[in-house]
């Protein structure tokens, strides 16, 4: 149990307002594009119109001749500095600027630098590129056909196949399938989508020729890791690089990779000795920077005739585009996809994944999730519904029958993960109560008699967040711990710096609440600073809902280190032994004599003014926290939809989200995160797809085609919670930012399929657009 502090202290569990919002709502945030340096010049990217073509020549003369143009950089120029290629986050490499061939539409071909951004854009139009079109590979299922064009001539392996990965007990799984009386199969595509953060990617690279220092203002979710990568790849001494992530307007995984635009801006600044700004347009963001998903999955479940799951078999084809730039810091090519056994207890599972190249933008980033967990949660929650429907068992009942039980934790899954804690039935029951499940089923039965289409979809997902234990997770070898440094000033106020980086999550508030909880210093007296690699302790950044599980834990432990020292100072001030002291929020007092006490503020002052002999001055601590395991948040989401037979439009009537993320730091911020994640989940389920035509032309490359939900499309979200603390986290928290995006797509799709199940519909792929539903209704003869 967490002791609740007073509202004035504002420790854990208080819905205090977000400190960062006062500047955001006044329009006084400081984003990368707000950075203006003296003498700053601008970069613009020349991009390929073709998905696959040989580069026969680039003529930059006309562009260079335009007044105001300072440089035009091509792949051949970069090749001279050995910078034409750069490593990806997945042991692959990717072209910074194309040499030899282009492999996807909108690929970076040349970088124009000019005195202002309009001249740069005009000059980019004057760069003449001679292409010879080559056959295009769009369909990942045809990637390994004998007549498929080989895309990557740079690789020794003359094949479009990237990897084959398998995990689990194949023999036991196959045997379970042979013996099982009931089997169900679902083919489901987790479609290519894009996080489309409000702020696109960009940077200002500022190389100072006098000091030889390079400062990069960067839209980065991982500034420290990026500094190290710039140093290793660019050969610049790491102490001479300072990465500053100022305010970030949403990341969602899109700002984890290093993009060619950043590298080009750095090269241009090193060459010109001037600050170079490069900011993506919206279309460039959608077309070239990290997409998410594109997993083509098949799940089979084997069960007994009374509905006990016996085994799961999964086969997946992963389309990685032209370069494998997936965010993938685990030892497993498909990341956390093998959490696909979900919330259910069964003995056997086998999962295999193959990755292929196609002529599409590179990526496979973790869009608001931990490395393929969204795909996994969607697949198992879809498969369970298909099986329940086949057995004519109510989907809530079916889940209840198969859940891992609370006394089974820590639970080892058949694919090798150890879940820390859970009470899946508790969350399900709460969600069923909140939505009034039985009444809704009655209503549905009556509506069906009248020919009306209504569906109820359940998703009882298990999330895996908080990467990560160093034994499993690293980026380029750097272990995925994270850090916090707390400094208490003489007046008892504090500044803390972390290795993570908020992109809107509210870190300036929540970390301060952890300090308030642990030290009794009011949250309003604690400043949080992140994103400057010259000042913050090293860390791996914010994604995978890892900030609370890692830096949050480090903050608590650093605070406890401070408390230990404070105790020694308090003993000195109270002239007693440390063992005679007890802690109560904000002060130490002598056991049995509560009036004899010293507040943390008095102790802080003494740490600089009245230091006991043998103790260092000052009151500060650093902690680098390597979590022993991931944390496994969970929940049950229930969605109710009505379908308009005339238009095929799906209307989300109600949506209940019961989340369990362990102990909560700030309930208001948690609720805000859930609202945001559900809205993104809604968009993925019903609206979003980065599609390509047969020539490799992007068909989702602007907001005209790639739709963003507005208040009009977004339903009222009803949220609830249960609390099952993580047993291994210092204050029992689990992380929550991504649960709604991981758990909700299955709830939406299950609801639509449920509305149409009596017509024989078993699955509809996302995005479930009105056109798709309308076609199904026609096919099934519901309307003419």
């Amino acid at each position: 149990m967490i002791t609740k502090t007073s509202p004035e202290i504002g420790g854990m569990g208080h819905s205090i307002k977000r400190k960062e919002d006062s500047r955001f709502i006044q329009g006084k945030g400081n984003y990368v594009d707000d950075v203006h340096l003296p003498g700053m010049v601008y970069g613009h990217m020349v991009r390929s119109p073709y998905a696959h073509a040989r580069l026969k020549g680039i003529n930059t003369e006309k562009a260079k001749a335009l007044h105001g143009v300072l440089a035009v950089i091509t792949g051949e120029d970069l090749a001279k500095a050995n910078l034409a290629w750069m490593p990806t986050l997945f042991f692959d490499k990717q072209m910074v600027l194309a040499t030899g061939k282009v492999l996807f539409q909108a690929q970076e071909v040349a970088f124009v630098v000019a005195e202002d951004q309009y001249t740069a854009a005009d000059a980019a139009e004057l760069v003449e590129v001679d292409y010879e079109e080559l056959p295009v590979l769009v369909d990942p299922h045809k990637a390994t056909d004998p007549d498929a064009p080989i895309l990557r001539e740079d690789r020794e392996e003359k094949s479009n196949h990237i990897f084959h990965w398998e995990v689990g007990d194949k023999a036991a799984t196959d045997k379970a399938f042979q013996n099982a009386p009931v089997k169900a199969t679902v083919h489901a595509i987790s479609q290519r989508c894009h996080p489309a953060p409000l702020e696109t990617c960009g940077c200002v690279a500022d190389f100072n020729k006098a000091t030889e220092k390079l400062t990069i203002y960067l839209t980065s979710q991982a500034p420290h890791a990026h500094r190290t990568l710039f140093s290793i790849v660019g050969g610049i001494p790491e102490q001479n690089i300072r990465v500053i992530s100022p305010d970030i307007g949403g990341g969602f995984g899109n700002k984890v990779p290093i993009y060619p635009g950043y590298v080009c801006a750095v090269v241009a600044s090193l060459t010109l000795g001037l600050p170079v700004k490069w900011i993506e347009t919206r279309s460039e963001n959608l077309q070239s920077t990290g997409f998410a998903r594109d997993y083509h999955m098949t799940a089979e479940l084997a069960a007994t005739s009374d509905g006990r799951i016996q085994a799961l078999r999964v086969k997946t084809l992963a389309d990685h585009g032209a370069f494998n730039a997936a965010a993938q810091p685990t030892k497993f090519p498909a990341g956390l996809f093998s959490v696909c056994t979900g919330s259910y207890d069964f003995p056997a599972a086998f999962c295999e994944v193959d990755g292929v190249y196609t002529n599409k933008a590179p990526g496979g980033i973790a869009y608001r999730c931990s490395f393929r967990i969204t795909e996994a949660a969607y697949l198992i929650e879809r498969a369970v519904d298909v099986l329940a429907s086949q057995l004519k068992i109510d989907p809530a009942e079916f889940r209840r029958k198969n859940f891992i039980q609370p006394d089974q934790f820590p639970y080892k899954t058949p694919l090798g993960w150890t879940y820390d804690s859970g009470n899946y039935e508790g969350a399900l029951n709460k969600a069923l109560d909140m939505i009034g499940y039985n009444e809704l089923r009655q209503e549905q039965a009556e509506k069906r008699k009248k020919g009306e289409l209504m569906g109820i979809g359940i998703s009882s997902f298990t999330e895996a967040v908080g990467a990560g234990p160093a034994h499993t997770f690293d980026i380029a070898g750097i272990k995925m711990f994270d850090s916090a440094e707390i400094r208490i000033h003489p007046t008892g106020k504090a500044i803390c710096r972390m290795g993570t980086k908020s992109q809107g999550q509210g870190h300036e508030t929540t970390y301060a609440q952890i300090v308030a909880q642990e030290l009794g210093i009011p949250a309003s007296d604690v400043i949080i600073e992140e994103g400057d690699t010259d000042t913050a302790p090293y860390g791996l950044g914010t994604y995978a809902s890892r900030s609370t599980p890692t830096s949050g834990a480090a903050t608590a432990i650093a605070a406890r280190k401070i408390r230990d020292k404070a105790k020694k100072i308090a003993a000195h001030l109270l002239e007693c032994s440390d063992e005679d002291l007890e802690w109560e929020t904000g002060k130490f007092f002598v056991k049995g004599a509560p009036s004899k006490s010293k507040t943390i503020q008095e102790i802080a002052f003494a740490a600089y003014t009245n230091i006991p002999a043998g103790l260092e001055a000052g009151l500060e601590a650093v902690d680098y926290y390597d979590p022993p395991n991931l944390t496994f948040p969970f929940g049950t989401y229930i969605c109710v939809v009505d379908i308009d037979k005339g238009t095929g439009e799906v209307k989300v009537r109600r949506f209940v989200a019961v989340d369990d993320c362990g102990n909560v730091i700030n309930p208001m911020i948690v609720q805000g995160q859930i609202h945001g994640g559900l809205t993104e989940g809604l968009a993925i389920a019903f609206m979003q797809l980065i599609d390509y035509d047969e020539n490799g032309n992007v068909q989702g490359g602007s907001f005209m085609d790639y739709l963003i939900p507005t208040a009009v499309e977004t339903p009222h979200w009803e949220t609830g919670s249960t609390c099952t603390p993580s047993p291994h986290h210092p204050f029992g928290a689990k992380g929550v930012g991504e649960s709604p995006n991981v758990g909700s797509p299955a709830a939406f799709v299950n609801a639509v399929v449920d509305a149409l199940s009596h017509l024989g519909v078993k699955h509809i792929d996302m995005p479930i657009t009105p056109w798709k539903v309308w076609n199904v209704l026609h096919e099934k003869g519901v309307v003419n």
């Binding site: 119109p49 003449e128 590129v129 032309n697 992007v698 068909q699």
Partner: protein
């Protein structure tokens, strides 16, 4: 993408055929298009400028007569071009057929397979369809008008490039077309 169009002209069959089988005359009717050079009997060099909103694409390429069938009044033409600034390519294979009508006029039927790669193609089928609808509408008007002119005038007209399509209005008309959907 497949585009099928039919229109009628009030001229005799052989006159229409003479016109249709001469790429120089036909090109002069296409908004923004011109024939710049004849390579041989069946091959011509040409250019076409298409502007949709802020995006201008200047295709340069070749037009080849694949099949000329004066007995059945059928012609098959292949046009291929690349944007001069390397922003994409397009190709179109068009089959044109003339049918004599009872009233003495002629029905012109064309079936085109259009393949667009690059910036323009990102706008998707709905925009390209609308753009081709507008261009074809202009083409039909020009075709009828030029056909009605005395043959000398028509001959002279081929020397000059035809008027490029009204660029500004094209995007607006295409946008209206998307929402109107009445097939104009």
């Amino acid at each position: 993408m497949r585009i099928e169009k039919t229109f009628q002209v009030k001229e005799p069959l052989d006159k229409v055929w003479d016109f249709l089988s001469d790429p120089r005359k036909v090109a002069a009717c296409v908004p923004g298009a011109k024939i710049t050079e004849q390579i041989d009997e069946k091959t011509y060099k040409g250019a076409i400028s298409v502007k949709v909103g802020p995006s201008v694409t200047d295709y340069k390429g070749e037009v080849t007569i694949l099949r000329l069938d004066p007995v059945n009044y059928e012609i098959e033409i292949l046009g291929k071009g690349q944007d001069v600034r390397g922003r994409g390519s397009a190709s179109m294979k068009m089959t044109g057929k003339l049918t004599a009508l009872a009233d003495g006029g002629v029905e012109v039927t064309s079936v085109s397979e259009l393949n667009v790669v690059g910036i323009l193609a990102q706008m998707g089928a709905r925009v390209i369809n609308e753009v081709s609808n507008i261009m074809f509408g202009e083409f039909t008007k020009n075709f009828q008008a030029r056909l009605a002119q005395p043959s000398d005038a028509a001959e002279n007209a081929t020397e000059a490039a035809s008027t490029p399509i009204r660029a500004g209005s094209l995007a607006w008309q295409a946008a209206k077309g998307v929402f109107r959907r009445d097939g104009t």
